[in-house]
């Protein structure tokens, strides 16, 4: 019986022990899993940012989807296009026959022939702006018809169905192109809404311009078509290419040798030759001339396989001439086709050897190259969303490729370097992420923002370092413990103040105050430190009995009224001085005499506010470092006859300098990442100017302003992530250096 209970007791104890062991193990596992997962989560921040940013630096790729026989096999193809969804292809032969076909297998959906009703043959075909989709067909009796593929979308059974039709925006009646000698060789045309401009060149090198307008009649019958004809001035060279912009205000007339005449055709009756340039050097031939989307830049392809971008730039005399901005050399054979994207500043080009390349002008990058055929391609089309390409080989086969090219506008250079943006006079650093117009060239240079961040940090550190470090040295080494017990919590209160409050005060109270009392503020920077030294001198002159009352660590308390008086004096003197010397307003005086502009919310205000925010950080860490210097070092120095200040300089600061350095680094890290203050106390304009009286836009404020409005996974979104990643890495690096220095110091102190 007794042994039984002992047995059960033992059993129980054993099972209890086992249970405790299991609990111990579970606890250990739980801690490990929990701990590791928390650490992983934290570390993941870096990888997540990196993961979001990475795609913008990737290059483009194309994937072959299908290859099939093209409609009108054997015929010469004059124009090839794709619809919005890359589902339907449109093709016109040189004879005016057209067809819509399924882009995925080549099945013809509907086809027909454009004719002018008289049976005359087609002599030239010109495609207009890809967004407008119009194609102009000229006949040998000097008439032309404008057609436009149209895609009606319906959703029967919730599935997209596209019905393509060919529209005649200016009616089926051919438009007369006016009298001119010779047969039409070349044609260029643009049409938009109710206006079209058609320029033709005959084999006698005669250039004539026809302007077509459509007027709706009030009675609601057929709209009336009016045409005017103008002959252009005689061109000296043999014309090989013509180009009209979508607004129909500019005309480029080019020769194969690279001469380009620029006509201003805003006034259709009086075309004006503005300038003549040569875009080619050596004996290359011009093989392609196209507008980039937006109608500002032109792309010149030549027989050497190079494509260059040109746009009008204003020179010193306010005259515009086109200048070469950048060039790409993706091919060794001559360029045969250049096709711009619809909305972005990218384009596709193909050469005579069957290679093609995707490029982007802003980034200056060749994003992808590949070989598609062994000979020159007949035609090439890109879908409006730039996600598919359609190639027509000279053997009459079509190949459709999908394109993965999400962020072509970003390159290392377009983010950090100077970029020559369209319509700018020279390469610049610009941040301008969005605009009202659709074909706008986004400007994603992080340089002005980084500059703004560093500018804020610089002025903040200039303000904070003396205040924090000198203050910390005094507090740690000279101050009486009684006062120290008061000062340290005060600094902690300072650290606890939310930056949104500092930013709000800086923006709404300090900025107007500084503007009004600018003289006083500048005066204070000199006068107040001076007043401390003067006070020291005066106290020194006092009888020893009185002066010792102020010493022994109570100097800071004695100086409190001096500070208040100094500030009051500076503010009071500000207006009289301003009136006496600066015509009543220093900001106005500065801008008149030195051209220094003054913003109310400027870097001085930000510097003071961020300085205020980082002082507690720098103060606490340096104070710790100075206070931690082992006592035997200072007593040794004092015993050898050094004054306490000499001990301070020669021993204490020297020993504590790594700690002070790490304090400054950590303060710098905070200043760099500060968001609310820079957001509220600057104008947030991304300019690059070191002027202390002007604002800036910092990386952090930029993220805060633009992030909520940016579209998920767009280039803008990813560039903002990049800005965050830059901030992360900079502060992380700075803090790591500081931390390592601090740990070394700790080891050093313990060895002393």
């Amino acid at each position: 019986m007794e042994s039984d209970t002992t047995q059960t007791k033992l059993e129980l104890e054993k099972s209890h022990r086992r249970w405790r062991m299991i609990k111990d193990r579970i606890f250990g596992w739980a801690m490990a899993v929990g701990g590791i997962s928390v650490i992983i989560t934290i570390v993941m921040i870096f990888f997540y940012l990196f993961y979001v940013v990475l795609p913008i630096f990737g290059s483009a790729s194309t994937t072959p989807l299908v290859r099939y026989e093209a409609p009108f096999k054997g015929a010469t193809i004059a124009h090839l296009a794709l619809d919005e969804y890359a589902e339907i292809g449109f093709v016109i032969t040189a004879d005016g026959e057209y067809a819509f076909f399924a882009a995925n297998d080549g099945t013809t959906i509907n086809q027909g022939k454009v004719s002018n009703g008289t049976g005359r043959s087609v002599v030239a075909i010109a495609a207009g702006d890809p967004v407008q989709r119009s194609v102009t067909i000229a006949f040998d009796d000097r008439t032309a018809i404008v057609v436009r593929p149209d895609y009606a979308i319906s959703y029967p059974n919730d599935k997209r169905h596209i019905t393509p039709t060919l529209e005649y925006p200016f009616g089926k009646t051919p438009v007369d192109l006016g009298e001119a000698s010779g047969k039409i060789l070349l044609l260029a045309a643009q049409s938009q809404d109710d206006e079209a401009t058609i320029v033709s060149v005959t084999d006698a090198n005669v250039v004539s311009l026809t302007h077509v307008t459509l007027t709706e009649s009030f009675l609601g019958d057929e709209p009336a078509v009016t045409t005017t004809h103008t002959a252009l001035p005689n061109i000296e060279y043999d014309i090989s290419d013509l180009l009209i912009d979508v607004e129909q205000r500019e005309l480029y007339v080019a020769s194969a040798q690279g001469q380009i005449s620029y006509f201003n055709i805003s006034d259709k009756q009086h075309p004006r030759l503005t300038y003549l340039v040569n875009v080619l050097s050596n004996d290359h031939r011009l093989t392609s001339l196209k507008y980039l989307s937006g109608g500002i830049s032109i792309l010149v392809g030549d027989s050497s396989g190079a494509i260059s971008q040109w746009f009008p730039v204003r020179d010193d005399n306010n005259n515009y001439t086109i200048q070469k901005v950048r060039s790409f050399t993706p091919f060794t054979a001559g360029v045969s086709i250049v096709v711009p994207e619809y909305f972005r500043k990218g384009f596709v080009a193909a050469d005579e050897a069957g290679n093609f390349a995707l490029m982007h002008t802003t980034a200056g990058r060749i994003l992808a190259t590949d070989r598609i055929a062994t000979n020159s391609l007949q035609a090439l089309a890109i879908s409006p969303r730039a996600d598919a390409l359609l190639f027509l080989t000279d053997s009459g086969e079509l190949e459709k490729r999908s394109v993965h090219n999400e962020h072509p506008e970003i390159s290392w250079n377009s983010i950090w370097g100077k970029v020559w943006y369209e319509s700018r006079a020279e390469p610049e650093y610009i941040w301008q992420s969005s605009s009202a117009s659709g074909d706008f060239e986004p400007k994603f240079s992080l340089t002005p923002l980084t500059f703004g961040t560093l500018k804020a940090a610089l002025y903040a550190m200039l303000f904070a370092i003396p205040l924090a470090i000198l203050g910390a040295i005094y507090t740690a080494y000279f101050m009486t413990p009684k006062m120290r017990n008061f000062v340290k919590p005060s600094v902690e209160v300072m650290a606890a103040l939310p930056t949104v409050i500092l930013g709000f005060l800086a923006g709404l109270w300090l900025a107007p105050f500084v503007e009004q009392y600018l003289v006083g503020v500048i005066l204070a920077f000199v006068f107040i430190p001076l007043s401390f030294v003067v006070t020291s001198f005066l106290v020194d002159k006092l009888p020893a009995g009185v002066s010792s009352y102020f010493r022994n660590g109570w100097e800071a308390a004695a100086l409190l009224p001096v500070v208040c008086f100094g500030i009051w004096l500076c503010v009071t003197l500000s207006l009289p001085i301003e009136t006496a010397f600066f015509d009543g307003s220093l900001p106005a005086w500065l801008s008149e005499n030195f051209g220094i502009s003054y913003d109310q919310r400027n870097s001085l205000v930000v510097g003071i506010a961020i300085g205020f925010a980082v002082i507690p950080t720098i103060f606490s860490i340096s104070e710790d470092a100075v206070f931690g210097v082992p006592g035997h070092l200072t007593t040794g120095s004092l015993a050898l006859g050094a004054t306490s200040w000499q001990t301070m300089i020669g021993v204490v600061i020297l020993t504590a300098s790594p700690g002070i350095f790490s304090a400054v680094m950590i303060g710098l890290g905070r200043a760099v990442g500060e968001t609310m203050i820079v957001l509220m106390a600057t104008g947030n304009t991304p300019i690059m100017d070191i002027n202390i009286f002007e604002g800036f836009r910092a990386l952090s404020a930029n993220i805060a302003v633009e992030m909520p409005e940016s579209e998920v996974n767009s280039t803008h979104f990813r560039v903002l992530f990049l800005a965050a990643l830059v901030l992360f890495m900079v502060t992380f690096a700075v803090n790591t250096v500081a931390e390592i220095v601090r740990q070394r110091l700790r080891v050093k102190y313990s060895n002393l």
Binding site: G35, I42, Y48, V500, F504, A556, I615, W645, G673, F728
Partner: protein, 556 residues
Amino acid sequence: MKSIESINKWVGSGSPWVWLSAGMVSLNLVMVFGLLFLISVRGLGHFWPAAIESVELREKDGSTTSLLGNFVEDEIVSAARVRGTGSTVPEDMEFVRRYLIKVGNRDVSGADFVWVNETDITSREIPLDSFMAERDEWGNFYGNLISVKLDGEIIASGATAWGAMQDGIARKTQIRRQIKGIEKDQIGKINYAMERLRLRTKRLELDGVEAGARIDKIAAERLSLEKRYEALNGSLSELYKELGRYSITAATVAGQQVELPVSKIVRAIHPNQMSMFEKIRYYFAKMWEFVSEDPREANTEGGVFPAIFGTVLLVMLMSVFVTPFGVIAAVYLREYAHQGLLTRTIRIAVNNLAGVPSIVYGVFGLGFFVYFLGGNIDQLFFPESLPAPTFGTPGILWSALTLAILTVPVVIVSTEEGLTRIPRAIREGSLALGATKAETLWRTVLPMATPAMMTGLILSIARAAGEVAPLMMVGVVKLAPSLPMDGNFPFLHVDRKFMHLGFHIYDVGFQSPNVEAARPLVYATAFLLVVLIVALNIAAIRIRNRLRESYKAGDG
């Protein structure tokens, strides 16, 4: 000669440098307390009923105009600057004092603040009869009361008008409360239930259920809700009719007669007749309104209760996440992980994360929590409300998590420090008595480290309460339609957006169309936020000290 020597001696003693560095401490102190003083004075002064003054001004053409309002601010500017704005200032003057007067009546005169040069003022007095009415829209009204109307009939004028108006306002306040009760609580509940019914129907549709008992039940429920809604709507429209009955006629200082519906008046006072006691009562009433009411007029008037609520709830949610995870990570790092190079590196990395800018965490929160996690949660659990996102949009949960990640390094570092300080002897003692490692940790080490954990939590709360930048991306809004906690199941709606004191300061101070009018309120909000943060800090420090004391007692 002697003086140079003494100066040399003075410089040699280092005394100027000591005093210079002492001065830096004084300057820091002056800045901190000056700032606190500024916020307190401006923030607390906002509620005091300022005297209404009437001013006569001489215009350029010799005529006079009168203004009625509160003097808000004055400043001295150089005469040149004033002349530059087109005002005339006597030739011999170099400086001009000018006043900012809040004249209200935005609906009558357009601008509610006017700058006035002292030189233009011909007389300045304090009229006893003038009153100020706070309104629901168009800001304050300043003028003299003429009569009170009920249903268009004058019921009181002259001396009795004031009492009649106050009665009208009291009645209006009562009706407003009823309306609010119906609109917010009852109709709000019905709307919420309707929305849930809609989602349930959608859910059934997605599951392929097209008819059946469940659908019929939903239809029946919807019908009964609609009936209740109709009934409530009827009583609402009656209340609204009742509300519109009173109106007052008042004259502006320019003599223009204005008719104001009492339904738009929040309260009316004539501060020039008020006794000190009344003023104090008014002061505290205004203060109470500030902390307990909803904001009015695009956040420039009224209270900040939703912002206080949002801030506190956010910090509480964050603490729930940050404490266990921070402590577990610290315990793992200190007690379980192998103390090698890797652990040391992780420790430095964690330490440094505390210095990473908060905006970076905001970006991470938006990308990872909101779009990635939230988007996937919506796909999995809330397909019925798509494309309207439930969790795939900024909200208080994501804000709390973002702040938790932001502050978890603080808790880890501080807890680790606490664990390091516990003497080995205590651990060894416990192990020697046969306790397992888990038991040692749970029973002795962790309790002893509680003060350190509390310190970490306090520090993280203090940081989180003042953080605004990341919240702007992950959930804060200028005006939230409903609080994230209410009487509808599940009571705590962590997917909702919320208001926040810090963001309120930024938004009202910088995004508001009428910054001048909003400024006092921003100071008051800033004061409140400072008080909140200091109070949190102090409370936490108290707790920490008490814990420290109790464990010290335990040692002995």
